[in-house]
Amino acid sequence: MSTPLIQTRQLTISFGAHKAVNNVSIEIEKDIFTTIIGPNGAGKTTLFNLISGLLRPTGGQVLFKGTDITHLSPLQRVALGMGRSFQLTNVFPALTVQENVRLALQAQARIGYRIFADHRKFRQLNEKTGLLLEQVLLQEKKNFLAASLTHGEQRKLELAMVLALDPEVLLLDEPTAGMALEEVPAMFELLDRTKKVTDKTIVLIEHKMDLVTGLSDQVIVLVNGSVLAQGSPPEVAANPAVLAAYLGGGVLSEACA
């Protein structure tokens, strides 16, 4: 068996008495579309923060292609090929949509230190920017300020920025959060296409499971900081423990209902 692209070993972080992520060991294989689901507060975003380096674990390891990256900075992890999006929209608000994406492409093209070249002269980047914006259906908004976009559009912009980095693995933190429900299918279609066209490994956090069943190869259920279940979407959906976790526990329904 090949080494998994991302692996965590007994990954743990506690904030005071609270263990936000508790002893999580997961493996994410290359080219596999993994979705991490779980109720709010289960530690999904914290897990992402640990994998992408925003937080340092209190215990355990994070491995990328078999190498221990637990002590690398976020910057170094990006350089290795990890791109992530954020749950709360995290763009450059007072820059245009185009500029947002262009900055990501520029990072990937490694021309940031060209002090006296005109940034507009890099035609290729501008073309690529156009292509990416087309891909995420934002072409018409390219000269708008990022701050003026709707929530859904901002999520698309985020996705374009992560794609622009051309990372080996995309860590997407609830790309549909805050979108109008009607916009969600388009977003997932976008992800589906990305998965097929670009041949990337995608790890997705999602609160709702039914939306991603068709998309995911593997589902990991996180509850109270620990892995509750793991497997193919049908397997996980059939797991009574998962249902209970989502509904709030069987005992509760008897006690309260």
Binding site: E99, I115, F116, D118, H119, R120
Partner: protein
């Protein structure tokens, strides 16, 4: 809440053709006016304008940091003052020749580069805007303190008077040198701002964490920004030495830094040109206030007014003159569009 129009237009760049043409026209008219100014203005006015040109560069150097990178450096005067001191000391110790001036420029660039490196290493060690402001203030004060104590070289609080190369002594000629210096620096800094590096600085100003997650080593970029800002300030300090032929520790104080800060704020931060407009505005007002000395002695304390203007601008006109102008232009153009539609 609306995003200030300043930022909008700067980032949109000059790709808007109409705006570009308008901008060029303004620049041409201004250049023509400034070129002909010595024909009808007196000596005092010419000196005042030379001063404006040089201090405008100092202001722009500050805008690179504050307006484009979002860094508040309260020790920026170190670069400017050191430029003046280095030039002065060299002119005094060696012959005041163009060769010495060249040497002074080289020494200033090297010195400012090194100082920016050290300052950045300490100030950018985490902690954000607040820590950076406090630390740079402390560093600046230390340099001032050193200059005051090191009397053998700097003459301490008495100040340093020095000769300058012959070719710069003519006020009229110097006016053109200063104008040329300003134009050159505008071209260079504008290029820098529009370069890929300059764009990254904007990204840092907007959202540093996101910039890191795009793979930019933001600390390095901030260091670059400080290098460019520091060296530009140092060069304007050298020019200032040629203008005033005198250096004192005032040039190294927080007050001097605040002068640069004020002109960028009055003119409009993150616009580069705002610093020029702001410098002109502040210098003209200062000049006018000082002529009121005879009316009432309180006008000798013109800093009182300077500080008040400063507070009022921060409270009521945060986008500055250029920003307010652009907002107005924006408003008008959007109204026109609505009419058409």
């Amino acid at each position: 809440m609306k995003t200030p129009a300043v930022i909008k237009l700067v980032t949109a760049g000059a790709k808007d053709r109409k705006q570009f043409v308008a901008g060029s026209a303004v620049a041409l008219i201004a250049a023509a006016f400034l070129l002909m100014l010595p024909g009808f203005a007196g000596h005092a006015t010419i000196s005042l304008f030379s001063r404006i040109f040089i201090l405008a560069v100092f202001g722009m150097s500050y805008d690179i940091l504050r307006g484009f990178t979002g860094v508040i450096n309260l020790g920026h005067a170190v670069f400017f003052g050191s430029g003046t001191y280095l030039a002065g000391i060299l002119f005094l110790r060696l012959d005041p020749t163009p060769g010495t001036l060249l040497l002074a420029v080289i020494v200033t660039v090297v010195y400012c580069s090194a100082a920016a490196f050290i300052m950045g290493k300490i100030a950018f060690r985490g902690g954000g805007v607040i820590a950076c402001a406090m630390i740079t203030l402390a560093l600046g004060e230390i340099v001032r303190h050193l200059a005051e104590t090191w009397r053998d070289v700097t003459m301490g609080a008495d100040g340093l008077t020095f000769p300058i190369p012959y070719m710069f002594r003519d006020r009229l000629l110097f006016y053109y040198y200063a104008l040329l210096f300003l134009i050159l620096m505008v071209i260079v800094l504008r290029r820098f701002v529009l370069s890929p590096t300059g764009r990254v600085l904007l990204a840092i100003r907007e959202n540093e964490q996101r910039a890191i997650f795009l793979g930019y080593n933001t600390t390095t970029y901030k260091m670059i920004s400080l290098q460019v800002g520091g060296i530009s300030a140092g060069l304007s300090g050298v020019m200032f030495a040629l203008l005033t032929r005198f250096a004192n520790t005032e040039l190294l104080t927080i007050q001097q830094t605040l002068n640069a800060l004020l002109v960028t704020i009055v003119g409009g931060t993150g616009t580069l040109y705002g610093a020029i407009v702001g410098t002109a505005f502040v210098q003209l007002i200062q000049h006018y206030l000082l002529t009121l000395r005879d009316v009432h002695p309180v006008f000798t304390r013109w800093l009182l007014f300077f500080g008040s203007i400063y507070i009022l601008v921060v409270l009521y006109m945060p986008a500055g003159i250029v920003g307010a102008y652009r907002q107005l232009a924006d408003l008008l153009s959007s109204r026109n569009k609505k009419k058409i539609a």
